[in-house]
Amino acid sequence: MKLLALDTSTEACSVALQYDGQKLTLDEVCPQQHSKRILPMVQQLLAESGLGLNQLDGIVFGRGPGSFTGVRIGVGVTQGLAFGADLPVFGVSTLQAMAQAAVRLHQAKQVIAAIDARMAEVYLALYQQSADGLMQPVCEELARKPAELPPLTLAGEICAVGTGLVTYRDVFLQWASDTQLKISDQVLLPSAQDMLTLAVPAWQQQLFVAAELAEPVYVRDEVTWQKLPGR
């Protein structure tokens, strides 16, 4: 199974390639430069592996949440690459990818993942490790002010990841004060390598879909624009 993964949802621009038991990863932090960097990074990994795009089996993409424009760059690139090379696609949550990174780096069993969503909010979800070693969500993904989060449903040891934990560190420590919370200083942004980990079982379960079905998940869907009177 040969899979390419890419993510441009946050400040990180990340590409990973899995083939023949090998995994190559490129992680950059390049705010506002994703559109310039993403295809050269894809090309670099393909060149290192000696593979052509059409020799791959599928493309995995970070489907959000994150910056609206960033998520769409990743989805647009995925659609173009996948339709052009006739490959199926699979979207992975950026929050879930960070939770999986906490397994890789901290052997975490439970995770709070939060991305600074601007406008005084975070994107947040909670995860627990399942028997197959993968992190599975135990709640819906939320966009919420940190002080207005519902009561925490996890207990015991929890690893906390993402930029939301940096921006709102004290609020989260208070929120999780009944637990043993450890805030990771290594997992701040999603990496495409963890999206590959999460996508492998999806490949085996034939959950990959056609290129045009690659869609962003914004989480923040409420329309805040002012409608005309009476509309």
Partner: protein
């Protein structure tokens, strides 16, 4: 050479395929107008969210309608500016990545060059050099055109574009979005001499425009006279006449200054019937000729992007792997072909 064109700079998703031998093989325009109508104008985030849903399915449809396989495409052209950054990025990301996957060159097209060259899709195409009047919701420019990429900006609006003035005035009058074409329709029922709206910047030399004062003048009339159907029609007619008079006067001035005999008019406002009638009179009196895009290519579309991209791709120009977009992009910065 066969080029796929992708346009997503504002509120239309346009996809087309242009071929050296066969000409325009297919073209599809999907308009987001119903999405934005409730807001009285384009909401950029909603525009981007819709483009990402529509672009690739329309590419598949355009290929099917052209009856050609993806492997027969020799290059991909996408609008890279000017326009809404988020909307541009959708078409650019998909277009640039498609070209990468196909192993074909890509070209970042200037949206206004697309409009400017759109009359060349017609049977009676203009020869260089010519004067171009670009009039849309985003632009009002007079450009001397000596060839592709050989553009000299002679004048432009210092505030609102002509189409923007139409839409804003229509909104003041309570017309639905986008109000410009509705206002033009209403104008046919009104007296164009009823209200003496200003002809901005016509009383001094130069080729620049200013249209923002016109909507203020219209607002004052609406405040004083109310919104009866006849007042509405008279305002529409008087307003349209003021805009058309101003555009025609500057065209005459630019043609005299440059000595050019051919005039190309493109962009959404070029569909305006009153403007076309008066420009026909002008060109007759100056013994010149005026050229327009076909009606369906006056507003934003993929055909003009495929064509402009084809012109540059066949000359060997191409874009590197960066998916650059340029929301503000003076047309004079384009390289010549």
């Amino acid at each position: 050479m066969r080029v796929l064109g992708i346009e997503t700079s504002c509120d239309e998703t346009g996809i087309a395929i242009f071929d050296t031998e066969k000409g325009l093989m297919s073209h599809i325009v999907y308009s987001q107008i119903p999405i934005h109508a409730d807001y009285g104008g384009v909401v950029p985030e909603l525009a981007s969210r819709d483009h990402i849903r529509k672009t690739l399915p329309l590419v598949k449809q355009a290929l099917a309608e052209a009856g050609c396989g993806a492997s027969s495409i020799d290059g991909v052209a996408y609008t890279a500016g000017p326009g809404l950054a988020g909307a541009l990025l959708v078409g650019a990301a998909i277009g640039r990545s498609l070209a990468f996957a196909w192993g074909k060159p890509a070209l970042a097209v200037h949206h206004m060059e697309g409009h400017l060259l759109a009359p060349m899709l017609e049977a009676n195409a203009p020869q260089f050099p010519f004067l171009a009047l670009l009039v849309s919701g985003g632009h009002t420019q007079l450009v001397r055109v000596d060839g592709i990429g050989r553009y000299q900006l002679l004048g432009e609006s210092i505030d609102d574009a002509a189409g923007e003035a139409f839409d804003k005035t229509a909104k003041l009058m309570g017309l639905d979005y986008p109000g410009g074409p509705l206002l033009a329709k209403l104008a046919t029922l009104g007296d164009a001499k009823k209200y003496p709206f200003p002809r901005p910047m016509t009383d001094r030399p130069g080729l620049d425009f200013s249209f923002s004062g016109l909507k203020t003048a219209a607002a004052n009339v609406i405040a004083a006279e109310g919104k009866t159907p006849q007042v509405q029609a008279d305002i529409a007619a008087s307003f349209q006449q003021a805009v058309v008079d101003t555009l025609v006067l500057k065209c005459r001035r630019a043609l005299k200054e440059t000595g050019l005999k051919r005039l190309v008019v493109a962009g959404g406002v070029s569909a305006n019937q009153s403007l076309r009638l008066q420009l026909a009179d002008l060109m007759q009196s100056m013994k010149g000729e005026v050229f327009y895009p076909g009606k369906e290519f006056c507003t934003d579309n993929g055909a003009m992007i495929a064509y402009a991209g084809w012109q540059r791709l066949r000359a060997g120009q191409a874009q590197d792997l960066s998916i650059g977009v340029t929301p503000r992009w003076p047309m004079q910065q384009l390289p010549p072909v």
